[in-house]
Amino acid sequence: MARLTFVGGVHPHDGKELSKAKRIKDYVPTGDMVYPLSQHIGAPAESIVSKGDRVLVGQLIAKAGGFVSAPVYSAVSGTVKAIEPRRVVTGEEKMSIVIENDGLFEEIEYPQIPDYDSLSREDKIKIIADAGIIGMGGAGFPTAVKLQPKEPDKIDYIIINCAECEPYLTSDYRKMLEEPEKLIGGLKVSLSLFDNARGILAVEDNKPDCIELLKKLTKDEDKITVKALKTKYPQGSERHLIYATTGRAINSKMLPADAGCIVNNVDTVIAIYNAVIEGRPLLYRIVTVTGDAISDPCNFRVRIGTNYAELVDAAGGFKKTPEKIISGGPMMGFAMFDLNVPITKASSALLCLTKDEVSKNEPTPCINCGRCVEACPGRVVPKLLAELADRHDEENFVKLNGLECCECGCCSYACPAKRPLTQSIKSMRKVALSHKKK
């Protein structure tokens, strides 16, 4: 039975009012574009251009490097300036194709769109794979791989993650309001791949306008339902979304397909629509530029590869000096020390805050209050796992379900002693997972 929520979770300050009412604006990049070859989970893409080549908008510049991989397209016209390691939001350097943008935005001639009704299941999946679509909510798992589970007949639900539970983010919200037809169209394409699947649009109930609009538009679709979920972070976490909408619970070792579900993010579904119905590869994504340091918070349609620093200028620059800049939301985003990194397929927001609540609060001893236990949606005991992690006790960490943590950040958020629980657990998980793979 669906409960429309889950046990645990937190209610951080939502901050969405800053950019919620702002219509999506097209941003036209002026500077160099950077395309990391690895914007997704899986094998990096392989560059098929070389320095000095001229490329056009929509041109393939790197092909998929394996089954679990995704190709990369140029979103501008210009010249390949370099293929070299460039810094990405996580702070690492990744091999990237750098394109000098000539500002002309000359497009390639897209091939004729095949008649939708004549497409087979395999054709559609191939189009989605070739378009370079990945999970655009942040995880970046190649969508075409997700759409090819071992037993397609056992898929009962395709759930569209319209929760947008991260504070401050409004990109999914704007898309639902401005392009609902594409969202529903993309869902129908996905549903056509599975004989027994029904579609669920799962929206948090803090977006009543989206719920109403989507309900209106799907009232004649008997395979699609709109579900209003209780607003709580991390409602958009894949496993918790499946639980809230279907009542099925999977652990970290299982895939959504094991529960008969496939979960896709709003932007991903719209990308599926653009690829299959309009014949366009993945070139754009919506990015919310917001925070109390930004003059004019906005939702931009951004060409993938655009430099983050350009977006700050496009949003009117800083009105106050930011102390912390985050790619993504405040709960799971990456803190950036440099704005000079590219927007990738999985970048959802740029959040500029004048106050850093983390450095302001010195960690103090754990008083065993249990708030982390109450908040943990993974139903583990974060304070104990963090203790074990700090002692490098990997064996007990794994035994006490340390690997079940989804790194959502609720424990650190809730901790009155301001202990960096998530950080400790994340580091230990990385080590434990790498040992497991061996």
Binding site: V7, E323, L339, E357, I367, V381, E404, Y413, A414
Partner: protein, 310 residues
């Protein structure tokens, strides 16, 4: 970008609750019981409690200064310990009892085990038990300006009868803070509304104890006897303010019920079958010792492993 940006691991926001705000709320929640104690026993009670609080704070401060550790008295945890200790002393206790108790609570029970969060036993209760054992006659002598003679529970134990109304309002003899059920429950409501405690431990503790009294009390379901047992002898103060002490109670939900049930049974045994009329303090510190064991056996099931609905 010339400005230095802060970088840290996610999440980048924190809730407003802090150790200090929690401890301060507990202090406020103890004020009704404290205020009633002063009203009930007079100025002597006020002085005793102030001595306890001052001793606790000073002991922590001096220890940290001598050991060159970070001074943490501003987190108010020593104030909470001092208040609880004071409320657990008889109003007529000599001034030095509070000092010995305060030093023992903070120095021996808390600081020597590593300070805040590391003690395995509630400091105030540890000190109270230490005092009861070391200065039995002082700690069990409740004669003071306002009252003389035995506490209601002792009267009950000897087969006497007590005025239930007085027991509920608190116009009875006992330790400074334990007498008024109304004042204690008022403070407890504040803690529950502030989300600092929940009813898992106090609820299972009180219900278990009530059942135990009904079954083994020898009077069956006798409302008068039962309400006297519930409102007397520090049960309410213990259940809401000391059994719920974060550091020394199990952190797992299931463990908290087990802990509460254990406390209820132990308090019942001590009160009905033991030589003393009271048993809350001993039950709780005994429970404190079992916490690691309870936590070990009640570790929750994870999401997707059967624990998603609890």
């Amino acid at each position: 970008m010339d400005e230095r940006l802060n970088v840290s691991s996610n999440p980048h926001v924190r809730s407003k609750a802090s150790t200090q705000s929690i401890m301060l709320t507990v202090v406020i929640a103890l004020l009704p019981a404290f205020g009633f104690g002063v009203f009930n026993f007079g100025i002597k009670a006020l002085i005793t409690v102030i001595i306890c609080v001052a001793t606790c704070v000073l002991t922590e401060l001096v220890f940290e200064l001598l050991m060159k550790k970070k001074v943490t008295v501003s987190d108010f945890s020593a104030v909470v310990t001092g208040l609880l200790l004071g409320l657990n002393l008889p109003a007529g206790a000599p001034w030095w009892i509070g000092i010995i108790g305060g030093v023992f609570a903070i120095l021996v029970v808390k600081m020597l085990f590593g300070g805040l969060g590391q003690n395995f036993m509630n400091p105030a209760l540890g000190a109270r038990c230490f005092l009861v054992i070391s200065y039995t006659s002082i700690m069990t002598n409740f004669d003071c300006d306002a009252y003389s003679g035995a506490t209601p529970l002792a009267v009950l134990k000897d087969g006497g009868s007590v005025d239930i109304m007085n027991m509920i309002t608190g116009r009875i003899n006992g330790t400074i803070g334990e007498t008024s059920m109304i004042a204690i429950v008022l403070g407890a409501c504040l803690l529950i509304m502030a989300g600092i405690i929940d009813l898992r431990i106090p609820g299972s503790y009180i219900v278990t104890f009530a059942l135990f009294v009904c079954i083994f009390g020898g009077r069956g379901f006798d409302p008068a006897f039962l309400s006297a047992q519930l409102s007397g002898g520090g049960l309410m103060l213990g259940a809401f303010f000391m059994a719920t002490d974060y550091v020394t109670r199990p952190v797992t939900k299931k463990g908290q019920y087990i802990y509460g049930i254990f406390l209820g049974i132990m308090t019942g045994i001590f009160r009905l079958f033991g030589p003393s009329a009271e048993g809350v303090s001993y039950a709780i510190i005994l429970g404190n010792l079992l916490v690691p064991l309870i936590e070990k056996f009640t570790y929750p099931k994870a999401f997707g492993m059967g624990g998603e609905h609890i």
